[in-house]
Assembly symmetry: C2
Homo-oligomer: 290 residues x 2
Amino acid sequence: MGTSAGRDAEPRPADYIRRVHELDADSLLEPRGPLRFGVTVSDRWNIGAAPNGGYLAHLLLGAAARCVPQPDPFSVTTHYLGVAAPGPAEVLVEVVRRGRGHATVQTRLVQGDREMARQLAVLGDLGAVSGPTEVTAQPPRLPPERECERGRHGPTAHLAIADRLVVSMAPGAVSWMPGPDGAPRTHSDRAELSGYVRLADGREPDARSLIFFADALPPPVLNLRAVQTPWVPTLEQTVHVRARPAPGALRFVFRTRALIDGYLEEDGELWDARDRLVAMSRQLARVHRA
Amino acid sequence: MGTSAGRDAEPRPADYIRRVHELDADSLLEPRGPLRFGVTVSDRWNIGAAPNGGYLAHLLLGAAARCVPQPDPFSVTTHYLGVAAPGPAEVLVEVVRRGRGHATVQTRLVQGDREMARQLAVLGDLGAVSGPTEVTAQPPRLPPERECERGRHGPTAHLAIADRLVVSMAPGAVSWMPGPDGAPRTHSDRAELSGYVRLADGREPDARSLIFFADALPPPVLNLRAVQTPWVPTLEQTVHVRARPAPGALRFVFRTRALIDGYLEEDGELWDARDRLVAMSRQLARVHRA
């Protein structure tokens, strides 16, 4: 896939299809220098015409992790500066600090001469950390995954990203999905969504993919009557990865407690199948005027 | 004050004392080029031998705001890369994006040849935003300020920053302060602190100073029995400023819900005297081993 490996070492197509999942195939980096990678932004994670921010953040994080020995994200802040387009792009990396425990890395997604996103990340080794543990946060209360509602990803027409994910929402969480009788729901005035999420092709979650999951679900603010547009662009998102997730569906809860003059925070938690809090996220977004 | 203003225009000492408050005096920037400022890091905001992170973040934000027309912080992420020292430093600014509504600015605090902190901020105009408003977050329930507890800023010896702030903690919130009978408190096992905070010299809060206040209070994780050290260095902090605060004391609540393997998130809210949520903060910090 554009690496310097010889032809003989390339997997055959059938092997390749089995081994490389969509998220990994669409985050492949082609080294073009010590701190520069070429990449093809896929349209398979689109929301409308634009690639999902979580997908882009995951892609940038992959480049950061290639440039330092620390494998895991600890804190990842991504600023979205422009609307990226599917197609060729470059990732430019700056290693800001190389520490023994942590490294700090900045990455930039560039298309043409425009910087579309900038990420500042602390990486470390989640397998090597030790210290006191005391967790009072509780996982979201959910019925079993099979009793949750599969359905439209957002209150809009077809979204490519919806084909990449299996999302099972807590019953009644989503106000834009019709009820069991097919009647349209009224708005719930509760900007909170919870449920289960998996990648559709069976790829299990890992620490890095949590950066994707933290921005892959529809915004809970869409539940509110006051919000008339499905377009809620993210200005900035920060994700703290707290543990490597176990295999299986992730449970999520995302909520907005303060929509003020069109700006909102969105707080998220991701819990793994072993009841561990694996990521916390917060973003600042804006309700686009209809 | 190191600016290019002529001697005749300098305020007399008495005027100066009345007009310039400590936080502003200690955040003065001396232009040394279009995107470069000299600064003297003060020891008046120290925690032990190191300047408080909130003070440094406020200082960096001041430099960012000097380089773009947008006056207010919207989202400010600061990474702490080394332990800064009181004394001379430089702030280097990069304007990442100049938009009509928002600007994105990166600043770096450099001492000698070491980068001590890096900040990535979105700035805008909080006076010009409009859109739907719906807030379900509630201000902390507190008794009147005069009924709260003034006392030690942290469970350690003298801290310079404690002289700069008037902190009134909710009764019983702080487990390291002796009770009314002078008996030492037991640890509360509740990593939450709330109360009122003001600057001691009477300076009123403004949008930029919220970045300082969001990292100026003692960490609530110190309440926990499991935490044996007062040193909880911040790796990364992000603050969303949601409104310009009204004059008067700020009410705060800071809490940690997940201390995992020595790493913790700390979530904060700042509310103004008019019951408005003016800032939300989250940091990733680490309990230093004793």
